[in-house]
Each structure stands twice: as C-alpha cells, then as structure tokens.
C-alpha cells in the first residue's frame, strides 16, 4: 500500500484528468455492456416473436420499435466511442505528462549529484533503469490502472446483466473466466523475464559483433575470421534459442486462453439453446448472452497483463524514487555568496579527505598559492594528486580543514560562481555530441563567433578546424567525425580559454602524440596558463621544470616541495622518481634538442640551397 501511495504521487498533479478518465471508464463500460440489452429489446419488441407454448411460431413485428432500438444501439456506440476516446487519450496523456515530470526531475537531480555519487553508480545501469522504469510509470495509467478498472466495470455489468436475465446460464457462462484470467496472468508473468533474456542476448550479439568489427583490421591481419565467426555463431544460436523459448510460452498460453474463450461460448450456447427448448430462455436473450461473451473475450485476456503492469509500475516507482531521493553530498549554504573578481589565490589549511570514513586519502595538506603561480603535483599513482585538484571545485568536500580561494572558504561560495572560476583540462577529454562550435562554447553558450575563433586560434586548433568540410559546424562525437586525442585536447583548451577561469587544473599525463601535435599542444597550454593560477598533475619533465613549485605527494601527504634543482639535491622521493622515470625523458628531450639544432643547420643549408 505504501508503494501504491508513492506511485500515486507521480500522478498527483493530474488528478483532474485522471478522474475524468475514470469517469469515462464507467461511461464506456456502461454504454458498451448495456448495448447487448438493446439488441435484446430490438429483437424482442421490434420483431415481437409469437409463442405457442415454449416455441416461437411467428412474429408480429413493429418496424417503429425496431428502428427505435437500432437508433439506440448506434447512439450507445457513439457514447461508448466518445467515452472510450476520453478514457484512452486521457490515460495515456496523464502517463506521458507524469513521465515528462519524472524525467526532468531525474535529470536535474542526477546532474546535481556530486562526484562521489557518480563514482558509485554505473552509467549503463542507471540508463536502463530510467528507460525501463519511466516507461512502466508512463504505461501505468493506460495499461494498468484504468485498464483494470475498465475490465472490472465491464465484467461487473456483464455479470450483473447475465444474472438478471438468467442466473443458471450466467453461472455456466462465467465458469471458465477465472481460469482464463489466471492463465493470462501466468503468461504475462512468465513471458517477461524471458524477453528480458532475449534483450540481453541481443545486447550480447551487438557487443560481440561490435568488438570484432571494430577490430576488423586486427582480425584480418591475423586471419582469425574463423574464431570470430564461431563466437558470433554461438551468441546468435543462443539468441535463437531464447527467442524460441519466449515464443513457446506465448505459443502455448495464448491459444489456450483464446480457445478457452471459444469453448466457453460453445458451452453457453449449447446450454442456452437447451434452455430455449425448455422454455426458460428466449432466443433474443441467448443472442444477448452471445454478444456479452464475445465482448468479454479481450478484456479477460488483458486482465493478467494489466495486473502485471501495475506490479511493474509499483516496483519501478521504488527505483525511480531511489534516484530522485539521492541527495548530493556537496551542499550549498543558503547564505552562500558569489565569488566575484577572483584573483586566484588558493589556500589549503590542514586539509584531510577520505572517500569513506575508513581509509583517508589526504592528510593535513597545507598549501598557499599566490595568484598566477604554477604548481606541479607529482607522486606515485594513488598518492592523492587527483584528489587534491578535485577538492578545489568542490567535486568532493574536504573531511577536515578547509580550502580557501581569495581567503574565502569554498563552502561559503555558490557552486556556480566557484566552478566558473576554475577551468579543467582532463587527459581524456569529453566531447559532447554537437558541432565543434558548440563544444568550444560549451561553458559559455552565449559566446560569439569572433570569441570562439580567437579561442580556437590560441589553442592552435583553428587551422585544423578549417580543414574539415563543415569547419566550425562539423559534427563531433558519436555519429560525427572522430578526432584524435591531440585534437580533442586542443578543443578542450579552447573551451577553457573561452571560459576564462582564474584558476586552472591540468592533467599533463598526456600520452605522447607525434611531434608536431605535441608542439601545438604545448603552445596551446602556454597560452592557456598565462596569468592563471595553475595546478598541473605532471608526468613530464618539461612541465615539471616549468613550474614555480613542485609538490611531491606520497600516501596523501606532502613529502617534499620546492624547485627542481633543490629537490634533486635533497635525494628524496623526487630524486627517486626522477631517476626512475624522468631521466629517460631528459635523454629524449636532449635528443630532440640535438635534432632541432641539427635541423636548424639543415634548414639553413636547405634555405641556402633553395635560394
């Protein structure tokens, strides 16, 4: 019951329409199920059969009464048609309107939930939940609630009418109904998990084919078409089997239910005819029974399904509420102020953090960074580098100490103003489906064309954009052009430039790209970092040496800080990392410098040769 109440909350705003729909249900049921009685009267009084004992021997018809009855039949049909329209349309509309509200609410809530929440969920899982659960709530009024009501109304009126006309025949006529309803329920319950399985195996087919076909170059290079064929054949076979399994359940139950209905009519007709011969029933009444039974066939078949829809909607609403009730861990104070004219001073005061209460990730971090400085964060994986930068825009909240921007605790600021002051360039850039222009203007949709081009130029991506057929209107993301990692990163840099934040967070653990691209990225980054307080999660010697201060982390603590030269002399963790990982790069860097010097010479000689 509690579940039903929660479910009904979705439709609360539409109770007016829902009541009208319910009223239509009664009207449609009444008009529909009473019209066989009209047929009865049209025949009984319009034709006026003459009896001799128990047997009809002739008619003494009255064409006026007959016409009158038929007009009644048509009027009832109009009535039922209109009421049926009202019921059907309103029920669907209420479902759709409610699911519109739910989707918007879900979207807003999911967007506002902090990283901690999104870390804990699987996107695909939530997606399928939303698609399926909102669908059940959408279908609930039309397929579940009002359908059930309609079936019950029809059943009650028909049963009432039958008992009123002839209780013996009524008893005989309703004998198989419970069994039919039960089978239809069994069918609806049994077939659903099977179709879920079918859906899953179709997903498996898609996955298998996708994997092999996306890697077709590898498959061909190794001539392993046989292996992939086998894999595909296996899932395809499984899909055929499940499909058949599911089809089997309905292939047996559906004809059984329909057949039972036919059997019921046959039995009733036989019994009714026998009653006629005994003078207990008139022919017109038997006709009325036949019509009633015909009319009841479909609703009875749907009874089980409507009950199943109701149960689904109830359990779906539970899951929807779970998503709707999820509250963000990052709360904004009611008296939060906007961060205005941010200078870019960032302070960490005794900051501690843990994703859960058991295992802290950061301990007692103290930092004070002057506006415009570049800080390189360095340390082994899991040392807390990413955590530190995620705390500044409040993707997570500190569990101890505080973080200050221009001397204000970040928790006293509004989230929007805080985050607008901070730009982030990640290693794996997320591009949204849309044009290049929209992606660059993502954080500032109001930016004009000049600003967008200026940002793209500074990010060294303008020239590339112009080589695409659509230029800035070229579609990227799914179903659009595929961009390389280097191109994506420069688009992200342009995006951030346009946002013009005072504080910058960079992930420099970029996989290396070809020299030209890397050169472009470095130029773009230089343009971006100019005059901004920058935190760099660094892996490259080049970036590290360009930083104002290097902060070395280990197990969530700052273990060393200073400039490159100082740290090398100290022979601590930095020195070890340097020896193990960075030194090679110095060689590479040296090699590149050699090459460059050489090429300069070559270029000069080439130029001479050219002139």
């Amino acid at each position: 019951m509690r579940h039903l109440i929660r479910l009904s909350a979705f439709y609360g705003p539409y109770r007016g329409q829902l009541s009208l729909a319910a009223f239509s249900v009664f009207a449609a049921g009444a008009f529909g199920m009473l019209s066989p009685l009209l047929v009865n009267y049209a025949v009984e009084y319009g034709l006026n059969p003459q009896y001799e004992g128990d047997r009809i021997v002739g008619i003494d018809g009255d064409s006026k009464l007959l016409l009158f009855g038929c007009v009644g039949i048509i009027l009832f049909a109009v009535g039922r048609g209109l009421a049926g329209f009202g019921q059907q349309y309103l029920a669907q509309k209420v479902g759709q309107d409610a699911s519109y509200d739910i989707r918007n609410a879900l979207f807003d809530n999911l967007q506002s939930l902090s990283y901690a929440y999104h870390d804990s969920i699987q996107t695909g899982h939530v997606m399928s939940r939303i698609t399926q659960d909102v669908e059940s709530v959408r279908m609930f009024p039309a397929m579940g609630l009002l359908r059930l009501l309609y079936i019950l109304v029809m059943l009650l009126i028909a049963a009432g009418g039958m008992f009123w006309l002839n209780w013996q025949l009524a008893l005989v006529s309703l004998v198989t109904l419970p069994f039919m309803a039960w089978r239809s329920y069994v069918l609806s319950v049994r077939v659903r998990p099977l179709w879920t399985k079918v859906q899953e195996v179709i997903a498996e087919i898609t996955r298998t084919a996708e994997e092999a076909l996306s890697g077709i170059r590898v498959v061909k290079a190794f001539s392993r078409e046989d292996l992939e064929s086998e894999r595909f054949a296996a899932v395809s076979q499984q899909s055929a089997d499940y499909n058949y399994e599911a089809a089997k359940v309905s292939a047996i139950n559906q004809p059984l239910i329909v057949g039972l209905g036919s059997l019921q009519i046959a039995i009733s007709m036989g019994f009714g005819a026998w009653q006629i011969t005994q003078g207990q029933l008139t022919a017109a009444e038997l006709l009325t029974f036949a019509l009633w039974l015909s009319l009841l066939q479909l609703p009875i078949r749907q009874l089980g399904f409507s009950i199943n829809w109701i149960m689904r909607a109830v359990s779906s609403s539970e899951r929807i509420f779970e998503l709707l009730d999820a509250r963000t861990a990052v709360k904004v104070k009611t008296d939060a102020v906007d961060l205005t004219d941010c200078e870019g001073r960032v302070g960490f005061e005794g900051v501690g953090f843990g994703y859960d209460s058991v295992s802290p990730v950061l301990h007692d971090v103290d930092l004070d960074i002057a506006p415009g400085k570049v800080i390189a964060l360095l340390g082994p994986p899991g040392s807390g580098k990413s955590t530190i930068v995620n705390l500044i825009p409040r993707f997570y909240d500190v569990t101890a100490g505080r973080i200050l921007i221009d001397g204000q605790d970040v928790r006293d600021l509004t989230l929007t103003s805080l985050r607008r002051a901070i730009g982030i360039v990640q290693q794996d850039v997320f591009l949204f489906v849309g044009s290049v222009r929209e992606n660059i203007a993502y954080a500032r949709p109001t930016a004009n064309q000049e600003e967008i081009i200026a940002a793209a130029k500074a990010a060294r991506i303008h020239d590339f954009i112009m080589t695409m057929p659509g230029g800035y209107d070229e579609w990227v993301g799914e179903r659009g052009v595929t961009l390389s990692g280097g191109q994506k990163q420069r688009i992200a840099i342009a995006r951030t430039l346009l946002m013009d934040p005072r504080i910058l967070i960079l992930d420099d653990s970029t996989a290396s790209v070809d020299m030209h691209t890397e050169f472009l990225i470095q130029q773009a980054l230089a343009a971006l970092m100019k005059g901004r307080t920058t935190f760099v999660i660094a892996q490259r010697l080049r970036t590290i040496m360009g930083a104002d201060e290097i902060v070395v982390l280990e197990d969530g603590r700052i273990v060393e800080r200073g400039a490159h030269a100082e740290l090398i002399e100290r022979a601590g963790l930095y020195r070890r990392i340097y020896e193990l990982e960075l030194k090679d790069q110095e060689e590479a860097l040296g090699r590149e410098i050699d090459a460059a010097v050489e090429s300069e010479a070559g270029g000069a000689s080439g130029a001479e040769a050219g002139s």
Partner: protein, 631 residues
C-alpha cells in the same frame, strides 16, 4: 458495441501487442532513420524463399495450422446460428450435436494454433539465426574498403534490427495477415451463403471503414515514427549527460543542459500525446461502424421479415444471431490488416538492406588453388602497384618498390599520401587494382590468407585488444601457442614485467577491450601479439604514436631487436625511428617521390628535407624558448 475492445487501437504504438508487452526498445539504436519500403517487394520475397524452403516441413505445417485455426475460429458463429435455429425448432438432439461441433471447433482452433505458433517460432528463429550468421561471415570476408565506408554501428543494426523485423514479419506478421485474409474470406463466404442480401448490407460499411483506416494509418505512422525519433534523441541526451556529468559540473553547464533536456523531453511528450490522440480517435469510428453494421442487419432483416408476414422464424433468428456475432468479429481482421501494413513496409526495407550487405562484392577470399607458404625469406616486391577505392580517384599510382629480406622501410609523407594504404595492401586488407605485390616472388593473391598472415606481424596505430585474458590476446594470431611462447613474446617487447604485476598475471581479464590498462600497456600487448608467431615481415603503423614516454623507451629498445633480420614496413612520425630505417620512402599524392636513407635525402634537399625542416624548425623556436625559461 465493438469487438476489439479498447486495447486494440492503442496497442499498436504501445507495444503491448508485441512480445509480452515489452516497451518498444528494440530499435533504439537509431542508426537508420525509419525508412519504409514497399509493402510487397518481389525481389526481397524471392531472396527469402530459399531460407523458407530449408524448413519447408515447418513452413507448410504452419500454413496448414493457420488455415485450420482460421476455419475453426470463424466457423463458430455459424454454429451459434444453427444452435439457435435448432433450439427454436425444439430439436434437442441437433442442439446437442451443433454444440458438440462448436466445442470440437474450439478444440481444433486451440490445438492447431498452438502447433502453428510453435512451428512458426521454430523456423522463424532458425531463419533469423542463419541470415545473421551468413551476413556476419560475409561481412568479415569483405575488403577493408567496406569498413571504411560503413560505420560498425550501421552494420550491427543490419545484423540485429533488420534481421529482427524480417523475422517478425515471417513469424507473426505475414502469417497473421494471411490468417486475417482467410478469416475475412470465410466470414464473407458464410454470410453470403447464409443470406446474400443481409451480407451486402453488412459489407456496405466496409469500404468507408477501410478508407478511414488507411487515411488514419498514414497519419499514425508519421506520429509513431516521430515518437521513436524523439525518444531516442531524449535518451541519447540523457546518456551523454550522465557520461559527461563531470565535464558538465566542472563547467557549470547544468542549467543550460537542463533546458535542452526539457526541450527534448517536451518534444517527446507532445509527440506521444499526439500519437495517443490519433490512436484514441480511431476508437469512436470503429465503434460506430460496428454498431451501424449491427443495426443495419437488424433493421433490414427485421423489416424484411415483418413485411413478408409469415416467415421461417427459426431461420430468421439463426441468421440474425449469426450475423450480429459475425459483425463483432469481422472488423478485427480488417483493422489488424491496416496495422500490419507498416510492418510489411519495414520488413521489406529491412530485407532490402540485408541483401544489400550480402550482395556486396569486393570479398577477399582464397583462390581455390592458393598455396601455403611453408617458410618466407622476406623479399617483398611492389610491381607497379595501383590502387583506388573509387574508380577514377587513384590512391596509389605506379608504386614500384623492391624490398630485400631484413630491410627496414620507413614511409614518410603527409596525411593522405597513401602510407597506410600501402601497408594494408601488403597484408591484403585490400587487393591491388593494378600491378602486383609479391612475397618471395609469389603474388600474394595466390597465397592462402592464413599462411600469408602467419608470416606477417601487424601493429596498428591504435592498439586494439579483445575481451579475454592478456595471454589469449597475445596468442590471438597463434591460438596453439604455449605459455612459454606467450611469455617469450611478452618479454621480447618488454611487456612481461608489467603483465606479471597485474592481479592475475597473464590470466588477467581485459575489461572493455583493455580499458583497465594504459594505452602504452595495450600497445605493448599488441606488439607481443604481432611477434609471437616469429613473423618474417613486420608492419608497424605509427605504432609508437600513442605511447607515453616511459613505454616508448621500452619499445624503442625492443624495436631495435625486433626489426633486426625482419623485413619491416614502418610508418613513423618519430625522428628516431625514421632515422634508423634502412631506406625512407617519401610519398606524396599516392606516388613514391623519393627513396633513400636519412642523410641522402637530407642532402638531396627535396621533399623529405623540406618536410623535415618544416616539422622541426617550429620545434626549435619553442625549445629555444624553453631553454631560455630554464636558464
């Protein structure tokens, strides 16, 4: 009064009529805009026939079962009439027999329908299975140019959605339609035989009804298409919002995104409401049609009897009863037929697309007399090779290159110069359009593909791994490899060290094609995979481009070992790799423009020297800047 009840009209869009009342999700891939074909495409049917023939017994059984079901079902109102007649005549024996006949009809109807549905499901799923595998195997044999043109998502939608609609048609659609036609005809014959005048009166309304339904179906089709398009747009947006939620939050785009979502959501709601309006609006029309037909029967039949005076009363009542019951069942099949119209169109369109794929030529398959290469020395000759994807747009022209065993060839040139194409031709991803490529003097088209690839190791720019263990991935091209061989290959490329540190070593499962590994690690595994069979020829397509600096150092070391004594084709941007090649082949617009080693080419001052200067001169200024900063 009507027969279908309220469910029928709405059921179409909602999918409750479908398998087990699943919400309509099957076509969510949204790749092919709902394209509707002809209702009946003879070519598609002709192509489907062989598949049906294979399960002939089931197909014929289904057909017979279906006809039996229809007859048994639509004969029943006739029995009702006869029962009434017998009852009025007071003939209890006949009442009993006709009732018995009706019970028998119900039993026949049930049994034959169960059998028919089981058989249809059986051969339908088998045909689906066969079509699917056949298509898949065919696609795999196609040359790479097919994959250049066709996105994987679209191929998959052919494999799943299109096959599914054809199956739906064969298993439910066509047989239901056929049984509807049979049913309608039975009703017509019975009614005409029983009383042709009343029959005409009953059918008078049909043309009008069909006209209304067809017009309605046209509107409804568009409306339902619209609901599918809007829902897939909505869920696409939602999925993106979820996947990119971190980016969204970091740029404070929540409000704008909520606005966009609301627009899409509203569009979906409105299109659904319009579809609901249409599907509900057809109700009154059907209701009134049935009522008019019923009334017409009563009025015409009744007046005729009244005016005639003395009549056969039993017959009159029998006819009236049978007709009114028939009327309630007559409009169901007509409505269903109109509904199935769309299903036919979609299935024909699906079939057309399926056969399009199966008919695609450009397969690369072994000649019947192709030979096995037992061993390969490694000499590779390009004899005036031409290649184009599209006639008239040459990609490679007159490429003439002769490579000695063990030589390392580096290809250099701008994007689109044809470097990757050349390397793809060596492994027969495409076939040359003129000239020939020979390995040890033998045209590669005369060699079994299996044996060709066994002697060739390929590493692609983007490391591509498969779901499965690390070990299985390394042994991909050589499934019979022992653990020792796998480890030797991994050690040779410097991957062994990190692999043994993974949680289950070589048995560690790769999730989502190795997303749990770094790009560099994946590239190392693909290196190991390429060399496990000790290939004589190595093809590396910018294989080190995406590797981080640490891994690159490892790879560079490994490469020196690997390239030794093997014929190698390398597409590289990195200076060090290019410089160490025996010969550098400079490509421009599909032609070889220069060949020579680094020093020769620099000295020649041609394209290579120019390219070299352009790339590295820029670098100078930046490095200079950096040195200045460091100083």
């Amino acid at each position: 009064m009507m027969s279908g009840g309220i469910a029928g009209a709405g059921g179409w869009s909602q999918g409750i009529g479908g398998p087990g009342g699943m919400p309509p999700q099957r076509n969510k891939d949204g790749w092919d805009e709902d394209y509707l074909g002809k209702v009946y495409d003879a070519e598609v049917i002709r192509r489907l026939l062989p598949y049906i023939k294979e399960w002939k017994a089931y197909a014929i059984g289904s057909l017979i079962g279906m006809i039996l079901t229809s007859i048994a079902q639509y004969i029943q109102p006739l029995f009702i009439g006869l029962i009434v007649k017998a009852a009025i005549e007071g003939d209890t024996t006949m009442v009993f027999w006709f009732s018995f006949a009706m019970v028998a009809a119900a039993v026949v109807q049930t049994v034959s329908q169960i059998l028919q549905q089981l058989w249809t499901a059986w051969f339908g799923t088998r045909i689906l299975r066969k079509l699917q595998s056949q298509m898949y195997d065919h696609v795999q044999e196609l040359s790479l140019s097919f994959f250049d043109e066709m996105e994987v998502g679209r191929i998959i939608s052919r494999l799943t959605s299109d096959v599914q609609v054809v199956q739906d048609l064969m298993t439910t659609g066509s047989l239901t339609s056929f049984s509807n036609v049979v049913g309608i005809n039975i009703v017509i014959v019975v009614l005409v035989l029983a009383d042709w005048q009343l029959a005409l009166v009953t059918f008078a309304i049909v043309p009008l009804l069909v006209l209304v339904m067809v017009l309605w179906a046209r509107f409804a089709r568009m409306a339902f298409m619209r609901t599918r398009i809007t829902i897939s747009a909505l869920y696409g947006n939602l999925a993106e919002g979820l996947a990119g939620v971190r980016a969204v939050q970091s740029m404070s785009r929540e409000d704008e995104n909520a606005r966009i979502f609301d627009v899409l959501n509203r569009e979906n709601r409105n299109s659904n409401n319009w579809a609901a309006f249409l599907s509900s609006a057809v109700m009154p029309v059907l209701e009134v049609s049935v009522a008019i037909a019923t009334s017409a029967v009563l009025i015409v039949g009744g007046l005729r009897a009244i005016n005639a005076g003395v009549v056969d009363v039993a017959n009159l009542f029998a006819v009236l009863t049978a007709f009114t019951v028939y009327v309630t069942r007559f409009f169901d099949p007509i409505r269903d037929l109109v509904m199935q119209y769309t299903m036919f169109q979609r299935a024909m369109a699906g079939g057309e697309r399926i056969f399009q794929v199966i008919d695609t030529e450009a397969r690369i398959v072994d000649k019947p007399d192709a030979v096995d290469l037992a061993s390969v020395e490694g000499r590779v000759d390009f004899d005036h090779v031409d290649f184009h994807y599209v006639e008239g747009v040459p990609v490679l022209e007159d490429v003439d290159l002769h490579v000695r065993p063990g030589e390392t060839i580096a290809f250099v040139g701008e994007t689109g110069a044809g470097k990757t194409t050349i390397t793809s031709l060596v492994s027969r991803g495409y076939d040359v359009t003129a000239g020939a490529i020979r390995i040890d003097g033998r045209d590669i088209r005369d060699i079994k593909r299996r044996s060709l690839t066994r002697h060739m190791g390929v590493v692609l720019q983007q490391p591509y791994l498969f779901t499965g263990s690390v070990g299985a991935n390394i042994a991909y091209g050589r499934p019979e490899a022992t653990q020792a061989e796998i480890e030797r290959a991994a050690t040779a490329v410097g991957a062994h060290e990190f692999i043994v540190r993974l949680e289950s070593g070589y048995d560690t499962l790769l999730h989502q094609r190795g997303q749990n590994l770094s790009l560099g690690q994946r590239q190392l595994i693909s290196f190991a995979r390429a060399i496990i069979a000790e290939p004589r020829i190595l093809v590396l397509d910018e294989a080190t481009a995406y590797v981080d600096t640490q891994t690159e150092v490892i790879i560079q070391r490994a490469l020196r070992e690997l390239l030794k004594d093997r014929t190698s084709f390398v597409i590289a941007h990195r200076l060090s790799t290019i410089r160490e090649a025996d010969r550098i082949v400079v490509m421009a617009q599909g032609r070889i423009v220069e060949i020579g080693d680094h020093d020769e080419l620099l000295a020649a001052g041609g394209v290579y020297a120019n390219l070299y200067r352009m790339t590295y001169a820029q670098r100078n200024s930046e490095l200079g800047e950096e040195q200045a900063i460091r100083a």
